[in-house]
């Protein structure tokens, strides 16, 4: 065990901090602290330009291997990168689905051709991705997807038809990775394929869904005989579930570090507000803030423990990975409640018409989604109990 940074790491810190200071200004100044949860609709173009600026500096995909355009940073350096990124108030990353999910999946399961075709655009910040898992009938029961993929021999292409829903950032995306049924007679997680599909084509229609924040970050996506090259299935037909689940592992990977730094920024804002408006004098508020602080540290230590992979062969590492989503989502939801209690009567008042929320108000609403997407709290508890503790499985109906 070692919980300090080396001299080399500290050099790295100076480097990224300096780079951010030099670059997050001018046209990008207004992006500070923007584009986070509940604010994803803000400045999409400017944030993509920022993504490309990061790429020019070599600051996208910092944890990826060099052969794929990454920086091959150690875990420590990735931690530092995310710390400094958050400290500078740099904006929410529009490329996070590509960098955090699509890219790692392609690296792990994709063909050389797919790597050559897709990874450079992710690294360069020029191509954005969305995740097409959920469908109207397939939420928690993800294996119930009905979207079909049929191979058309004549055209030499996969033809995809069906409906996805809740697809974050589909309206900004160049590509969608999705699961679809390659075997029409199959049920549940058998007979699925994992596809990389271009969004800009006649068979794809994106309709925004307005969220309780009054803004729109997710969409319905309709595939009507959309085409996908024969080479753009990841793994073989029937491997879709395996690939999709591998990807969910990445969702709990290094990207969580960045998220925690953002949590820290939010907590700092709550603390600052409590000082400013006197709520800090209330002992109940003080204790809740102290608790939030302690729990955030717990998350941080455990994320690093999980990433450093040093918890031995007793399987406890695996359990941490299962626990993490439930813990942070619940923590974040409580932070939203705490923020509103610190705001007091003012928490009702919007900064501007027609429905512009303050950062903390937007956060309070957005955290309601944290306990839902990426596996609801209830599903997470089932996973912890059944996979982590080996308890008997819940009855699952007849499906």
């Amino acid at each position: 065990m070692k919980v300090s940074f080396s001299e080399e790491d500290e050099h790295f810190r100076t480097e990224i901090a300096g780079w951010l200071q030099d670059n997050l200004r001018g046209e990008f100044e207004k992006l500070r602290y923007r584009g986070g949860p509940g604010d994803e609709h803000m400045y999409p173009q400017e944030r993509q330009a920022w993504e490309q600026r990061l790429a020019e500096g070599g600051w996208t995909c910092v944890g990826w291997p060099q052969e794929y355009g990454g920086r091959a940073c150690s875990i420590e350096q990735q931690v530092i990168f995310f710390e400094e990124y958050a400290r500078a108030g740099a904006p929410g990353r529009v490329g996070h689905i590509g960098e955090g999910l699509a890219g790692p999946t392609i690296i792990a399961f994709g063909s050389d051709e797919q790597k050559a075709k897709y990874l450079p655009g992710i690294v360069a910040g020029t191509q954005l991705w969305c995740q097409g898992y959920s469908e109207p009938g397939a939420g928690s029961d993800l294996a119930n997807v009905k979207t079909r993929a049929r191979f058309d021999e004549a055209r030499g292409k996969w033809i995809i038809s069906g409906q996805k829903v809740w697809t974050s950032l589909a309206h900004e995306s160049d590509y969608c990775f999705l699961i679809a049924r390659t075997d029409p007679d199959s049920v549940a997680h058998k007979g699925l394929g994992f596809f990389l599909v271009a969004m800009d084509q006649p068979g794809v229609e994106v309709r925004p869904i307005v969220q309780i924040t009054g803004t729109s970050e997710f969409n319905e996506v309709f595939f009507d005989e959309a085409e996908c090259d024969a080479a753009d299935i990841v793994g073989a037909p029937g491997d879709g579930w395996k690939v999709a689940m591998g990807l969910l592992g990445f969702e709990r990977g290094v990207s969580t570090l960045g998220q925690q730094m953002q949590f820290q920024n939010e907590l700092d804002q709550v603390v600052a507000l409590a000082r400013e408006n006197g709520a800090a004098a209330d002992p109940v508020i003080r204790q809740r803030i102290a608790k939030a602080h302690a729990e955030l540290k717990i998350m941080r230590y455990n994320a690093m423990r999980m990433l450093s992979g040093q918890s031995g062969g007793d399987g406890s590492l695996q359990k941490e990975a299962l626990i993490y989503k439930l813990y942070w989502a619940s923590w974040h939801r409580s932070l939203g409640e705490l923020a509103m209690d610190v705001m007091g009567p003012e928490c009702e008042i919007l900064p501007a018409a027609p429905y512009e929320l303050s950062r903390l108000q937007a956060m309070y609403l957005f955290v309601r989604a944290d306990t839902i997407y990426g596996g609801t709290n209830q599903i997470q508890r089932n996973i912890i109990a059944e996979r982590g503790l080996g308890m008997p499985k819940e009855p699952r109906g007849n499906a």
Partner: protein, 347 residues
């Protein structure tokens, strides 16, 4: 000791419930969000016709002469439909304040309120902003230790948006012309009573809001299928709903008890009101949290009606004294010198 309501009270509740559920639909609320004032004269006229704007106005002034206890069940129904019109404010805050002020002002305005011809609103410093000032014909405004009465031509309004798009909030600047109608101790007493009335109204509405969210979610979880069965059949989902039911059922008694204390001007009314507001708003906040959760991503959309009720609950929890304010008030009473606690002081 009798916590039941009379047959008359229950019958009236039923007819008001039918009316509100038929008329004040989520579609109508959404339409009101798009309109300039967010208020409908035609609906107000109907409410007046039903006697609701005059419920608490004395019979001598053309009202029904009923009390907060008679109105509390109706306030729950207003919450259930998330009524945008300021009916609860009128019956539970404005009319009692006018009655407390008395004299010419009361004589002049009470009959018009009862007839649905005029709206009166009360603005307390505790609330920072004034609800529905844009449609008020008379504003009773607290300024320090005085209560002023102002007509629309004597004030300038600045509109503020609320997290609940149905709520219309205003910062009110008064021109010098508006004279204090009461000052000193009497004004303080009226302000304190108005705050308690407002808090009671919020508490009663919170019960209705929570019930509405529960009803919607029980229905949704029976219809929505995952893993081949209704999600409502999963224990985790049921427990989310049962936990609300426990809080909500148990929040009713304190709210009714507070209405009684106010109606009978009991010495401990303020304490009862704080308790009621805490219990009811906690129930409504839990309902909002759990009901969104069992709706899954659907609960996070603007299109699903749940957020109409969730946002009103959010706003009401923080007006007429937020949780911190009311907890502090309960604490002060308990720790006051000579506080009478324990057996024999249950009520």
């Amino acid at each position: 000791m009798d916590f039941t309501f009379t047959e008359d009270q229950l019958l009236f509740q039923e007819s008001v419930r039918d009316f509100l559920r038929n008329e004040v639909t989520p579609e109508r609320i959404r339409a009101s969000w798009e309109s300039d004032s967010g208020r409908e004269d035609a609906l107000w006229a109907q409410l007046a016709e039903l006697g609701l704007t005059g419920m608490t106005v004395p019979e001598s002034s053309g009202g029904l002469g009923m009390s907060a206890l008679d109105f509390v069940l109706l306030a729950q129904e207003c919450g259930y439909v998330a009524l945008p019109e300021p009916l609860v404010h009128t019956a539970l805050v404005a009319v009692p304040a006018l009655c407390d002020i008395g004299g010419e002002l009361a004589e002049q305005w009470l009959p018009r309120v009862a007839a649905g011809e005029a709206k009166v609103v009360v603005g307390l410093e505790q609330n920072m902003l004034v609800e529905d000032a844009h449609v008020a014909d008379l504003l009773l405004l607290q300024r320090g230790a005085a209560l002023l009465a102002a007509t629309p031509d004597q004030v300038s309004l600045r509109h503020n948006e609320s997290v609940d798009p149905s709520r219309k909030l205003y910062a009110v600047d008064i021109d010098a012309a508006a004279a204090p109608v009461v000052e000193g101790e009497q004004a303080q007493r009226i302000v304190a009573r108005a705050l308690d009335h407002g808090a009671l109204g919020s508490a009663a509405q919170a019960l209705g809001l929570a019930q509405r969210m529960v009803d919607m979610s029980v229905q949704y979880t029976a219809e929505r299928q995952q893993f081949g069965v209704p999600i409502g059949s999963f224990q985790a989902v049921k427990h989310h709903m049962a936990n609300i039911a426990v809080r909500l059922e148990y929040a009713r008694a304190p709210v009714h008890r507070a209405a009684y204390a106010i109606a009978h001007e009991r010495a401990n009314a303020a304490l009862a009101v704080s308790h009621a507001k805490l219990a009811a708003c906690e129930a409504a906040n839990l309902a909002a949290k759990n009901c969104i959760q069992v709706h899954g991503a659907m609960g996070y959309t603007w299109e699903v009606d749940l957020h109409i009720f969730m946002k009103k609950a959010w706003a009401l929890a923080n007006t007429w004294g937020d949780a911190g304010y009311h907890k502090a008030r309960v604490g002060e009473r308990i720790f006051a010198d000579g506080a009478v606690l324990g057996a024999g002081a249950t009520f």
